[in-house]
Symmetry: C2
Subunit: 571 residues, 2 copies
């Protein structure tokens, strides 16, 4: 492609309404043009990148044995009623009436449509397992679309759905897709993590999210430095600490007139934060279902994990206790709460790390006072429950047993999900099994946000000059920049020859023959992130050299033609 | 691809609700699955064909210098208000409200979006000409969707839009696109015609429709057997006949008691239909704009062309005359009307072929009578207007001067259109011209119905056994059919080797390893239209041969391996 014949339109200024760097750079590079809230036109440059991603996704899905089909974007209400999602899906579902007042939605996902397809197309276990995928425009009516294509309303998604005669087959395909996704993100050249995920509201038995790592990511991920373990911070297990040491201090009341937080108390007493215990008062239910006051204890430097807490008996629908409830059960106002001698009988839940503490500090249940030198068994009974109820921290040992946890931020770009029979049951999709009996197939679903990957890749790969594409996503691998092409036919011809030679060698090359000044030309080529730049100039030709610079390199090099070709074709 | 791993599901029965052969065969071959009215899922088999078409369209658009981008499917009302089409487009426009009650439509076409893109992206004539294209899902809310993907509501379209500083540049691009379209349909292996079209309601200066020829086509096309001239029957010019011969009969009244049509009169009198003249009474306007009674005359074997008639002065909004108006001006009831001695002064418009007639027969303006031996000048004044007001017939000389016209039926699959400045003016899209002044660019638009082509190709290419794909559209070029693969490892291995060899040689081959009986297997392969079939059997292997049959051939042949490979790779 010659840039003079390509519609490239870059901008120097950072657009005021773009909040994150990928959105800013995509607008500056002219990859996108906003049409309306959450709706973007992909310019020729943007589309080249989008197609690179789409192509790799398709190749690896095919390699994994999935079969591509194409479902309509518009889906009839009737199918969504069968699963109850017409109501349950919420405001993101864009509902539409046609000229005959029949109701439809713009598909945000396609479990209903594919299950309807399967119940008509698949009769026998002999047709299973099968995995259908679709690369198609989706729509979610986000309440606040923003961040460009990172959270657009209309977006390009690869969604796949597998059907299985039994759970074992589903498990195998789940692993197959997990591996395919790993290949996809590896080929794209992205740093990523497969993250064990909560199965959440969709329902299902296993789930991993694939995250592109980037400081700007919305999700915090805990990952091991010694294995491929990774989990959402909310889900990562905090491993059991060692044995509890023996008491060495006596219990004593200490004055803490204005110190209501563990940090303040530790500072006042001159002890490490790790010696303090935070008491969180909540209301749960006892075995009979009656309201029960609960004190949840975590170490002063830890945070309570609400998801873990809610998994304990009686806490599925817990809430924070009111000041009145706290006063009734502990006889104190918040800020000075603790498990020692409560006013009434309460349930005490200790995080595993708290249960292992000795000589610790808690609130005295009396305004202005804490108690130091507290020890389990001696000063208060052992806790009613000991459980993992805290968030992991960087530096914690990895629950997989190998390495230490780090915390990174990630952008979710893929999701594999063992759905089980939720949709096939609701929609009465059955097949005949080997015994000729009707069986409900198990399902998996596997999504990739194709357009979102483009933005996520930029969040991960950019510098002050602009985008730094991984090779596999770059619109072109090489830019041949011509100095003064209009006034120097020799230089123009040499550049054209090099451009032809590179393309003939299978290196996707663009010729910048626009005749811009070198500074403006180089700025454009850097901004749009071309991995390799070659400058053809009169001076270089006289010396028999080309100026070569990798996008990530700090300096340019002079290479003769053979060295240059070797460098560019050997990649 | 091995068919045992591919989701192929054919049906023997013709579906009751499919009216046309392409829809029937697409359902029987399992290419489509209906989701709702006018909404279809493309199965893996169907999608393979659709992608073949899409690929060729993309290649030729790129070759022609057009640049691909991608617009959203959802378009904001505001842009459609700028051109007035939010109201004018009619019921086919699927209107949508989002959760904030903002209004959108599902794009049926994208003139507004691309003009909005251009007015932001293009500042200078130096960026012109440019041609942007998009291969994207479109939606038209057809009142009666039918015929499968021939008239679906959601469909795949390639739409291109070009921008030009002047009309000359538009003209050149129009020709460029015309040539690209010709290459596309030629490469697809379809018999087609580029048809000069009426510019219709969209407004514009030049337009050609590309029609795939098929007996079931909705449109009648007149085409020359001696050139590439083709036009919609309504638009094809009927060339001037020769000179008028001298009168040889005397005018006489003949009794035609019940004969009201030219056919009946000619039969009664024992003369050729070509000697009779049909008189059509209409109401137009005179030069002052007052209502004017008009008698339009065409030869008995010709039909009045309403489009041509309406182009004459005073007839832009003509209507048929009422019986009262006919009685007032001609003194007779319909069925016996004629131009001789009307009761009142009327305007007479003669088709050119009528003006060249002599000794002809017309109605006598008296119930039960016609007049024979009528001659212009002698029996009635020369007509007020002589013009081309008839439809052409097969056998007419071509208006291009070369060859004779035939009439064929066609399915419109493409359209090139010189739009002029309709959209750029309405949307205030301007660029700076060479003098630094704001200029409104001229536009062209160029559409191809990608999904419709699949159906049209089947309408043109099928037989009793099923679809007969042109090579370029076939899901695979070759099917290797294995007889009894489960019980005969030698045959299975030989088939696998042949399959591998063909794919390695670049021949897209499918292996039918499903283990069906030969009859059922061959029926499937014929139904889905694979151009070349090879059968691997124990008997063949013993003789060192393979059974080969082209889809269009009446008989199979036995070929040894070399001859087979030569046949299949030489295509």
């Amino acid at each position: 492609m010659r840039l003079s014949k390509f519609h490239l339109r870059t901008e120097k200024e950072t657009p005021a309404d773009a909040e994150i760097v990928s959105h800013q750079l995509m607008l500056r590079a002219g990859m996108l043009r906003k049409l309306a809230a959450g709706l973007y036109t992909w310019s020729p440059l943007g589309l080249r990148v989008l197609r690179k991603v789409e192509g790799i996704v398709r190749e690896e899905m095919n390699r994994a044995g999935a079969i591509e089909l194409q479902m309509p974007t518009i889906q009839p209400r009737e199918l969504w009623e069968e699963t109850g999602r017409w109501q349950k899906f919420g405001g993101q579902l864009l509902k539409i009436k046609d000229r005959k007042e029949a109701e439809y939605c713009y598909g945000p996902t396609a479990e209903e449509v594919i299950t309807d397809f399967a119940r008509q197309e698949i009769n026998s276990y002999k047709q299973l397992p099968v995995n259908f995928y679709n690369i198609q425009t989706k729509f979610r009516d986000e309440i606040r679309p923003r961040f460009g294509v990172m959270r657009a309303r209309e977006f390009l998604m690869k969604d796949a759905y597998s059907f299985h005669i039994d759970d074992e087959s589903l498990k195998a395909e789940y692993q197959n897709m997990y591996d395919a996704y790993s290949r996809i993100f590896t080929r794209l050249g992205l740093k990523f993590r497969a993250v064990f995920a909560d199965t959440g509201a969709i329902g299902g038995s296993a789930s991993h999210e694939f995250h592109v790592l980037a400081d700007s990511g919305e999700d915090a991920i805990a990952f091991s430095d010694g294995s491929d373990y990774a989990a959402n911070v909310e889900l990562a297990e905090a491993v059991s600490p060692g044995e509890r040491a023996a008491a060495s201090e006596t219990m004593r009341k200490v004055e803490t007139p204005t110190q209501k937080t563990c940090e303040d108390v530790a500072a006042l007493l001159g002890i490490p934060l790790q010696r303090t215990v935070k008491s969180v008062a909540i209301m749960g239910a006892d075995a009979e279902g009656d309201a029960q006051f609960v004190l949840a204890l975590v170490r002063g430097d830890h945070g309570v994990n609400e998801i873990k807490l809610a998994k304990l008996p009686g806490l599925a629908e817990y809430r924070l206790a009111t000041e009145a409830e706290i006063l009734e059960h502990l006889g104190s106002e918040p800020g000075f709460l603790g498990p020692v001698k409560p006013a009434k009988a309460i349930r005490i839940i200790a995080d595993r790390s708290v249960a292992a503490m000795h000589d610790f500090v808690v609130g005295a249940n009396e305004p202005g006072y804490h108690i130091a030198g507290v020890n389990w068994g001696r000063d208060l009974p052992e806790a009613d429950d000991v459980a993992d109820i805290r968030n992991v921290l960087a530096g914690d040992p990895s629950p997989c047993g190998q390495g230490t946890l780090g915390i990174a931020r990630g952008i979710e770009v893929g999701h594999v999900f063992a759905l089980g029979r939720k949709y096939s049951e609701a929609m009465k999709c059955t097949v005949l099994d080997a015994n000729g009996k009707a069986a409900t197939p198990a399902m998996g679903c596997y999504g990739i946000g194709v357009s979102r990957i483009v933005a996520a890749a930029i969040e991960q790969n950019h510098d002050d000059a602009g985008i730094v594409w991984p090779d596999a996503m770059a619109p072109w691998q090489v830019a041949v920049c011509v100095i003064n092409p209009k006034n120097d036919a020799t230089v123009a011809a040499a550049a054209q020859a090099l451009y032809d030679e590179l393309n003939a060698a299978g290196v996707e090359t663009v010729l910048d023959d626009r005749g811009l000044r070198p500074g403006a030309m180089f700025a454009d080529i850097e901004l749009i992130g071309i991995p390799h730049r070659v400058v053809v100039s009169e001076r270089g030709l006289a010396a028999g050299t080309f100026e070569y610079r990798a996008r990530r390199a700090s300096e340019a090099e002079s290479l003769d033609r053979d060295a240059l070709m070797q460098r560019l074709t050997a990649r």
